[in-house]
Subunit: 252 residues, 2 copies
């Protein structure tokens, strides 16, 4: 694993007994359009390449999201994608590159829903919608959610830069929106960061801890009844809170 010792290191505990640490070979770039040929043929070929890459990436996501980078072998990904190992290594120079590609595809999906927040919206509606959309993702792309979680747990060695930049900026912008809502009295006085964390946590939980959810409730988000139940409850908890309110019977 410590083949490329210097660059963006993957999640692995620092080896104690390092032998020699080879001088980091430079890998070839991805197969790109070779040069001139009939335009139609080129585009057809490019599409085929992209398709195959995509098949591999999907297979990789499924395995990485369950077993992590080290728990998954190239062989397994290849088998799942129905290509040979060497063929896979033709499309992705090495395992780590494959992993990073999977992650990179993820981040975009990940940041998307948050972009929706804008000051002129009704915050209750905006937040309610956001919860639903994130739960849809937890239902339809639990593997994406899990891989993201896995990467976070490991300290996000391959996303750290993006985290520090893209994510942070987006969160800052949306925090400003939330602050505005609070200032306008449309939202209870709550710290935007912690509110965003609560939104992320409560919704992703159904994907990342899906096994636990199923062990306890016996159901999954694929069950439409349970899905709506989850949406409704998360929305109620985050928006109204669990305390009894004035309009219901009040204890103490």
């Amino acid at each position: 694993m410590p083949k490329t010792a210097a660059a963006g290191k993957p999640a692995r505990a620092p080896a104690k007994t390092v032998k020699t640490a080879k001088p980091a070979k430079v890998k070839r770039a991805l197969p790109r359009a070779p040069a001139a040929r009939s335009p139609a043929a080129v585009s057809r070929r490019l599409r085929q390449i992209e398709d195959k890459r995509s098949v591999i990436l999907t297979a990789a996501l499924g395995l990485f999201s369950r077993f992590g980078l080290h728990g998954t072998s190239i062989d397994q990904v290849a088998a799942r994608a129905d290509v040979s190992k060497s063929n896979l290594l033709y499309y992705f120079a090495n395992k780590e590159e494959l992993y990073v590609c999977v992650l990179r595809d993820l981040l975009a999906v990940w940041l998307e829903p948050l972009r929706g927040f804008s000051p002129e919206q009704d915050p209750r509606k905006a937040i309610g919608d956001y919860i639903r959309r994130k739960l849809v993702i937890s239902r339809d792309r639990p593997d994406a959610s899990r891989l993201f979680c896995l990467e976070m747990i490991q300290g996000a060695p391959l996303l750290r830069d993006e985290l520090g930049r893209e994510l942070r900026d987006l969160v800052e912008r949306k925090s400003e929106v939330i602050r505005q809502w609070v200032a306008d009295g449309k939202l209870a006085p709550v710290d935007p960061h912690h509110l965003i964390f609560a939104l992320w946590a409560t919704t992703q939980h159904y994907a990342d801890f899906g096994v636990q959810v199923q062990a306890i409730t016996g159901r999954t988000l694929d069950d439409p009844g349970f899905f709506e139940e989850a949406v409704d409850n998360v929305q109620r908890i985050v928006l109204q809170g669990a305390s009894a309110h004035a309009d219901s019977a009040s204890g103490r």
Copy 2:
């Protein structure tokens, strides 16, 4: 890895090219009190053994919680525990056993705080206290939280049984308490399962996604000010909700 093919299998994608699948050797049991000796000497020895096991387990938790089972080598654990690899393998028959031991220690810690809930408590205080206690754990034992999360993501292959039994029973008992609170009008009408999920998710988030939290806020729970901020905000969100209430300015 597919050495013991049958039993409680660890989180690894099913290998495609299985060679022979050996007939699962029976491993020796742990070193236990050999027999008769001076009682004092025996107890001293036993303590030493337990101490060493404990040191190894702690080192293992630290690494497993970051890099997972497959991302951690026995060598690394041994180095961190400051014992030789062979010596480690004297105390734990194999890597998997070590991993399971670490997990087993965890579950107890994990279930503890929830036991606190009882019907005669004021729910707001009970839930508020629970949030604080879980955040203390997220602060003081983030590695425990992360490993638990890792295991869940992977489908909890080694905890599945316990999940189905212990955890489920405990949650059922506490759900009954919550239902009682709701029936008494002390709590808003909320499904106990989803409330418990929300409590877990919002509090563990600060440990499991600690890197993200730090990337965004620049702070960690080790900062006392941030810790109190987190406690306060999570309590407010879960108990009162984010919506503006009657007593504050009401938008629309």
